[in-house]
């Protein structure tokens, strides 16, 4: 099955009580692509998903286009979208097979065909043996699979997932994330996935749309978003980041504890620099270009997270290998590859 190209054109949303939930957003999504809408609660990601679904109408001027067909005014029941909600919303009055087959029944698919398709989906989502279970007898993970099977049963043009893993515990979430990723790639359905969990976004998205206060903060591949955030919000929301206020001078970032060479040496003046904790190395104080003092160390298993004072205007977080001996009060040097320093616009957004 081939995916549908999706175009969102200047879709904003102002609710009846004049709350501005979404600034006009424009976004093009390729057939079969999985795009993750990532952001804190209230950033407008769910509103955008609901506009794509047809559960909300965009403000005047907004358009939703599926494969060159304008569906802005097509009601949800004729848009052919698949939806999975955080609560799964399985129909309590139907068993697992009836839930999965509901969309097919609505489309008047005959009983034998329906049965065949339900069996395929049950196998695809790995819930064999549960066909006749009532939905209240399912575990969280099983519910999630049923909801997904039901949504893809109708071969939707677009699959819309609203925090589908949030209701599950951490271990199960990680397992299902992998399954979901394989399934989405196998099906090739154009997918919009809403989450506030950055690791989910990284793992599942071909592209991530980071949203903030009803507007798009950045669109890019997981690597773009992580390594090359365009603004401070994205840098801080996705992963851990040191945002350092400093001055660029002579091809280096000048800090109280020394200077770090920059990849682009032509910039001069005050700047915000972002450095990920894992991009900083603790080295011997002698010969290092930046010096500091270890203020605290916490061991978190796969690594240690140290806070280093005196190097910049505020403490710098550094990821230290878990076997390295480091203790509070150590005078140390810090080394950073020039390419790992990202200069951000001065504006805090």
């Amino acid at each position: 099955m081939t995916g549908v190209a999706l175009r969102i054109e200047t879709c904003g949303k102002t609710f009846a009580d004049a709350t501005r939930a979404l600034e006009p957003v424009t976004l093009t999504i390729a057939p079969g692509e999985t795009v993750v809408l990532l952001g804190p609660s209230g950033c407008g990601k769910t509103t955008l998903l609901r506009i794509i679904a047809g559960l909300e109408t965009p403000d005047r001027g907004g358009r939703i286009v599926f494969n060159d067909k304008d569906v802005t005014h097509v009601p949800i029941e004729r848009r052919n979208v698949g939806m999975v909600f955080q609560s799964y919303a399985l129909f309590p009055n139907m068993n697992v097979a009836e839930n999965i087959g509901y969309g097919l029944k609505i489309r008047s698919v005959n009983a034998s065909e329906r049965k065949k398709r339900i069996a395929e989906l049950i196998a695809l989502t790995g819930i064999e043996g549960l066909e006749h279970r009532r939905v209240d007898q399912l575990s969280g993970g099983q519910r999630q699979r049923v909801a997904l099977a039901r949504a893809v049963a109708v071969q939707p043009s677009v699959l819309l997932l609203d925090e589908p893993l949030t209701a599950l515990d951490a271990a199960l979430r990680e397992k299902l994330r992998g399954e979901l990723d394989r399934l989405l790639r196998a099906l090739g359905i154009t997918t919009i996935y809403v989450t506030h969990d950055q690791s989910e976004a990284m793992a599942l998205g071909d592209r991530i749309v980071v949203m903030r206060k009803g507007a798009i903060a950045q669109v890019g591949t997981p690597r773009d978003i992580y390594f090359a955030p365009e603004n401070r919000f994205v840098a801080e929301f996705v992963g851990a980041a040191n945002i350092i206020e400093a001055v660029c001078e002579g091809g280096a970032l000048v800090l109280p504890g020394g200077a770090l060479p920059l990849a682009n040496g032509t910039l001069d003046g005050p700047a915000f620099a972002m450095i990920r904790p894992e991009a900083i190395k603790l080295v011997a104080a002698g010969g290092a270009r930046l010096h500091g003092r270890v203020d605290s160390v916490s061991f978190v298993g796969d690594r240690q997270r140290a806070s280093v004072g005196g190097a910049a205007g505020k403490p710098i977080l550094v990821d230290v290998p878990n076997t390295m001996a480091v203790s509070v009060g150590d005078k140390i040097g810090l080394s950073v590859e020039p390419g790992a320093i990202r200069l951000l616009p001065g504006d805090p957004t």
């Binding site: 009601p75 949800i76 919303a89 129909f91 509901y102 609505i106 819309l160």
Partner: protein, 266 residues
């Protein structure tokens, strides 16, 4: 020893209270099948009074049933979509509407009847028909249907169920039948029993709204108390009991089982 004495005292008290409440009902039923109440049970048991009630008042019984079933039909048709709409909107306006619908519960039936009479009393054929009483009963029973359905909506994520069904291609009507109604069945059932029982027993409103040709069972009952032999009035009560008690029992069984199978579904 002391515990036994306390238990005996409690039991005695309970039996006295129960007797105080139950004996009048039993006496009333007994009076309805006694040949001559003043001579007591020695005069013999008879069904003649029940038969006489049937001959004199059978129209009130059928009318009461007709009105109760019609009131149920109207409250189902109006109440469920209303509850659905109010739940989906869930804003200040819908809360105000809910309050307004509930208002008739706090207003004496006589006042509602008076208002209906003032407004529609001039429409002769409407005023003189059983439909006029039906209107009063719908005003009075609608809140019970709306509230009991809304109570179920409040505990079910009906909005997500509805939206999911719509994403799967179901039209609003189809969703209503396939998803909404089956999942609020407990509320609908509880509301229906409340509507039927309340309508069958309603006197205040009905007494004002009825005409001599459109008497309902409770109005007929008042009439027979005022103008008939005590035995006839009692037999009439017996007929009313026979009609209403199965409904009350059904209501009780139902409200007991609500926390069972449906509760487990959540």
């Amino acid at each position: 020893m002391r515990e036994r004495a306390i238990f005996a005292a409690q039991l005695l008290f309970t039996l006295l209270v129960a007797g105080f409440l139950i004996i009048p009902a039993l006496l009333s039923i007994l009076a309805g099948v006694t040949a001559n109440y003043f001579r007591g049970i020695r005069s013999g048991l008879t069904l003649q009074w029940v038969l006489q009630v049937w001959q004199l008042y059978d129209d009130t019984i059928f009318r009461s049933l007709l009105i109760a079933i019609s009131a149920l039909a109207v409250t189902l048709l109006v109440g469920i979509p209303a509850a659905y709409g109010l739940h989906l909107r869930g804003d200040r306006l819908s809360r105000a509407v809910e309050e307004i619908i509930t208002l008739p519960l706090a207003i004496p039936g006589l006042a509602i009847a008076l208002a209906l009479l003032l407004t529609y009393g001039g429409f002769g054929s409407f005023r003189g028909s059983w439909l006029f009483i039906l209107a009063g009963h719908v005003v009075f029973t609608l809140p019970f249907m709306v509230r009991s359905v809304m109570a179920v909506f409040a505990t079910t994520d009906i909005r997500s169920l509805d939206e999911t069904a719509s994403s799967l291609g179901a039209s609003p009507w189809r969703r209503f039948l396939d998803v909404i109604v089956p999942n609020v069945r407990p509320g609908i059932l509880a509301g229906s029993l409340a509507v039927v029982t309340l309508s069958l027993g309603e006197f205040n409103l009905t007494w004002m709204l009825s005409t001599p040709l459109t008497k309902t069972l409770p109005v007929g009952l008042a009439d027979s108390y005022a103008s008939m032999r005590l035995e006839v009035a009692s037999a009439y009560t017996l007929v009313f009991f026979v009609m209403i008690i199965p409904l009350l029992v059904a209501m009780q069984i139902f409200s007991g089982s609500r926390s069972g199978p449906m509760g487990a579904r959540r």
